[in-house]
């Protein structure tokens, strides 16, 4: 193993300096594209510890919205989750009308217990599931949605809204949306 020394940190610092020469203010506008995805046939676990056939869930009769989060995430996940919570709030008693799915990108830590507590913090209602699984299965899901990251700490904000029941056509939103922007996107696919 090459032993890390302060010398080797210089290389990193040089890289950092090069990177900082680029304009580096966080992008506030989001990017919206239409993508084709193939849903993997894997079995994941939800916040109640129940097994979920992922493909079946993605091909549900209800509209489906997906994001990638983890239980101890700092900045991005709370914003994504507040959007989900807000949508459920607006749906009122019909929260089950839309299937919201948060997929853990930290399956090592996100046990059903952790996920249940997370959802409670955002006052999630029925219709919002948080899924975890084996690392191999979670990797398959991330690859399928072109969302693979080798490490949870290098993640990015992503929201996926399903366009057809077969689950192969999706709106891909890269970046963080405000509430009205998110609602606009939902309306575009018929979620009122």
């Amino acid at each position: 193993m090459p032993r890390p020394t302060l010398i080797s940190s210089f290389a990193l610092s040089v890289l950092l300096l090069i990177l900082t020469l680029q304009p580096a203010v966080a992008e506030t506008k989001y990017q919206r594209t239409i993508e084709n995805y193939t849903i993997p046939d894997v079995v994941l676990v939800n916040q109640s510890g129940a097994k979920v056939r992922f493909r079946e869930l993605m091909q549900s009769n209800k509209p489906v919205i997906v994001d990638f989060i983890f239980g101890t995430c700092t900045t991005i996940c709370p914003i994504l989750s507040v959007s989900f919570a807000n949508l459920q709030q607006k749906l009122g008693p019909d929260s089950r009308k839309v299937q919201l799915v948060s997929i853990s990108i930290d399956p090592e830590h996100d046990s059903p217990k952790v996920m249940k507590e997370y959802l409670k913090r955002y006052r999630a209602k029925p219709g919002w599931d948080f899924l975890t699984g084996s690392r191999a299965d979670i990797d398959k899901v991330m690859y399928a949605f072109n969302a693979y990251i080798p490490n949870k700490m290098s993640h990015f904000p992503l929201t996926l809204i399903r366009l057809n029941k077969e689950g192969n056509k999706w709106v891909r939103i890269f970046g963080l949306m405000g509430s009205s922007e998110f609602m606009d996107e939902c309306r575009k696919v018929g979620i009122q």
């Binding site: 302060l6 610092s13 040089v14 506030t28 991005i76």
Partner: protein, 579 residues
């Protein structure tokens, strides 16, 4: 409370001057003459209430703070606390391209510098420069997002709806937050210690300390070389490092050896800490329960990184000790997870734990029991083997005959192995038998042939023969894909090698963390930056992962079976069990 500190102080003075001693009793709430006076809050109470707002998003009234993010998303403060982005130390974070600037006392009230050649530039992406905040401009930016330069903060920063009194409490807290370097930090050195209990063998002790001490001696030699006049390498180091002073700062590592019974350790630790306060504890070894040392760290707010213990304190909220794993508890947890997920168990089938009354046995049983209950099953029955009580076929057969369990856990050490033969007879055979590889030790390889087909072994170590080490940065970790493992191929052969490997990993983490501190030597910041470190490979556990507030780096365990014969292999029964 409605008034700022200043107003209260001067208002109080004026009222006291005007109305004399009697009325001065009421000056805690200026202008309150004729109203019911509120008792003044002590500084400690103000800090506590401010901390509650910062960490939990709760107002002094107990109600959640109210806020908006992204312009129009209403959020309760409990879902969007200050601490979730600015972290416990207030030094902020960078995640997913969003930069969260520092909000600690030391940084807020001085200009935010971004000098490229003047070395202060430490952040990416680059945050905007700004002048020093004062109470008014800080209150404004928290409420509206408008900075003193007239710019708006990124709209992921919530805008908090706080009245003057609550705002004053929050600002009071921020002024105190990471305002002074933690103990153990001097202008020339960072002091660390390692805690070792006196029963630990010299082999284990040296194995753990070797990588740490080597790193420290290299670092200190480098610092020494840099101190020579006009040293050009130092100039380069200072220009490149995100914390200039790290180039010439020395590290020290004391050995805090604890002698005698555990109930005397606390006093010994307090004495050591009084004589030579440390910034953090590194590694450390005890063969017994880590709790006395854990409690010392927790109550004195001293981080303890990677103590080499299989008997950690299991807590979801404690902050200061970061363990390599949950040890024995994690194996018990894994048995419950595997059994629950397998679904092979008929509803209501009885589970019996035969538990040695030892720290190891109790930890295994506790991990199983808690996880089993959390999964919605009835409590397992427990048969306790008193310390010194020999385990034999009769004890085991009795347990089986009386309780008729389908599943039996035998949480006992290597001496239990011959007795397990009792389960070979068809009449007393459980459907599933669980044992702990770590507790059985080398005797694992001598399990009776007849019971191997239905014996499930919790095995907390990696099967992977090729653990790739990353150097400094993050790397994609290979999963532990090997399905079988023979005794000869086990990567780590004994306890000392395990200590050496974990000591090596600790050194790796420490190296990264010291740089990530960026010169902000606050103990909470040390744990905050480690929470942001990418997953690390480990030749003991395969993958170690971190995260804000996560305190057990290895999260799972294998469930394996042993093949028959004299040269058996361990065969994985599933993926790495994490749920």
């Amino acid at each position: 409370m409605k008034d700022t500190d200043r107003y209260r102080r001067f208002g109080g003075l004026a009222v006291a001057l005007l109305f004399g001693t009697f009325f001065s009793l009421f000056t805690v709430v200026p202008g309150s003459f004729g109203e019911t006076a509120k008792p003044a809050l002590s500084n400690q109470e103000r800090l506590h209430l401010g901390e509650q707002m910062y960490r939990e998003g709760l107002l002094p009234s107990g109600e959640p703070m109210r806020a908006y993010v992204k312009g129009d998303l209403p959020v309760p403060g409990t879902a969007f606390t200050c601490v979730s982005c600015h972290l416990r130390s207030g030094l902020g974070s960078v995640e997913g391209g969003v930069f969260t600037p520092p909000t600690n006392g030391d940084k807020l009230f001085q200009p935010f510098q971004l000098l490229f050649k003047g070395l202060e530039q430490k952040y990416f992406p680059l945050p905007p420069r700004r002048p020093a905040y004062n109470d008014e401009t800080l209150a404004e930016v928290i409420r509206s997002g408008a900075t003193p330069t007239g710019k708006a903060l990124n709209d992921v920063m919530p805008r908090y709806l706080l009245d003057d009194g609550d705002m004053a409490l929050l600002i009071y807290y921020l002024k105190e937050l990471s305002a002074h370097y933690s103990p153990g930090v001097t202008t020339t050195a960072l002091h660390f210690a390692t805690v070792i209990t006196d029963e630990v063998s010299p082999e284990d002790r040296n194995a753990m300390l070797a990588p740490l001490e080597l790193y420290i001696s290299i670092k200190n030699n480098q610092a020494k070389a840099y101190k020579t006049q006009g040293n050009r390498s130092r100039q380069m180091a200072e220009n490149m490092l995100v914390s200039k002073e790290l180039a010439t700062r020395n590290l020290t590592l004391s050995r805090w050896v604890l002698k005698g019974p555990p109930d005397t350790w606390r006093k010994q630790l307090e004495d050591y800490n009084r004589k030579e306060p440390v910034f953090a504890l590194l590694g450390g070894i005890s063969y017994g329960d880590w709790k006395p040392i854990h409690d010392f760290s927790e109550q004195n707010h001293i981080p303890c990184l990677f103590p080499m213990t299989n008997l950690p304190v299991i807590s979801e909220t404690d902050w200061y000790t970061l363990y390599p794993s949950k040890g024995y508890y994690q194996e018990g947890e894994t048995a419950a997870r595997y059994l629950h997920a397998g679904g092979a168990l008929p509803k209501g089938a009885s589970v019996v734990q035969i538990v040695r009354d030892s720290p190891e046995g109790r930890a295994l049983a506790a991990g199983f029991r808690q996880t089993w209950l959390d999964s919605g099953h009835p409590a397992p029955k427990t048969v306790t083997l008193k310390a010194g009580q020999a385990i034999n076929g009769n004890v085991l057969r009795q347990a089986v005959t009386k309780k008729k369990p389908r599943v039996i856990m035998v949480w006992d050490g290597g001496e239990a192995v011959p007795a397990l033969q009792a389960f070979a007879a068809s009449g007393s055979r459980p459907a599933l038998l669980f044992v702990s590889a770590r507790y059985l030790g080398k005797n694992l390889w001598t399990l009776p042939d007849q019971i191997r087909p239905f014996t499930y072994i919790t095995y907390p170590y990696t099967f992977s023969l090729n653990v790739t080490y990353s150097s400094m940065g993050s790397a994609t970790l290979q999963d532990d894909q090997q399905k079988t493992l023979s005794q000869a191929n086990i990567l780590i052969k004994n306890k000392a090698q395990e200590m050496a490997s974990l000591g090596d990993t600790l050194t790796q983490i420490l190296t990264m963390a010291l740089m990530d501190l960026k010169g902000n030597y606050y103990r909470d910041n040390l744990l905050d930056v480690i929470g942001m470190i990418a997953d690390q490979p480990s030749s003991v556990f395969g993958r170690l992962s971190f995260g804000p507030g996560q305190r057990y780096a290895s999260k799972g365990c294998n469930i394996v079976k042993l093949t028959k014969g004299l040269t058996p292999e361990l065969v994985k029964q599933s993926d790495w069990v994490i749920h």
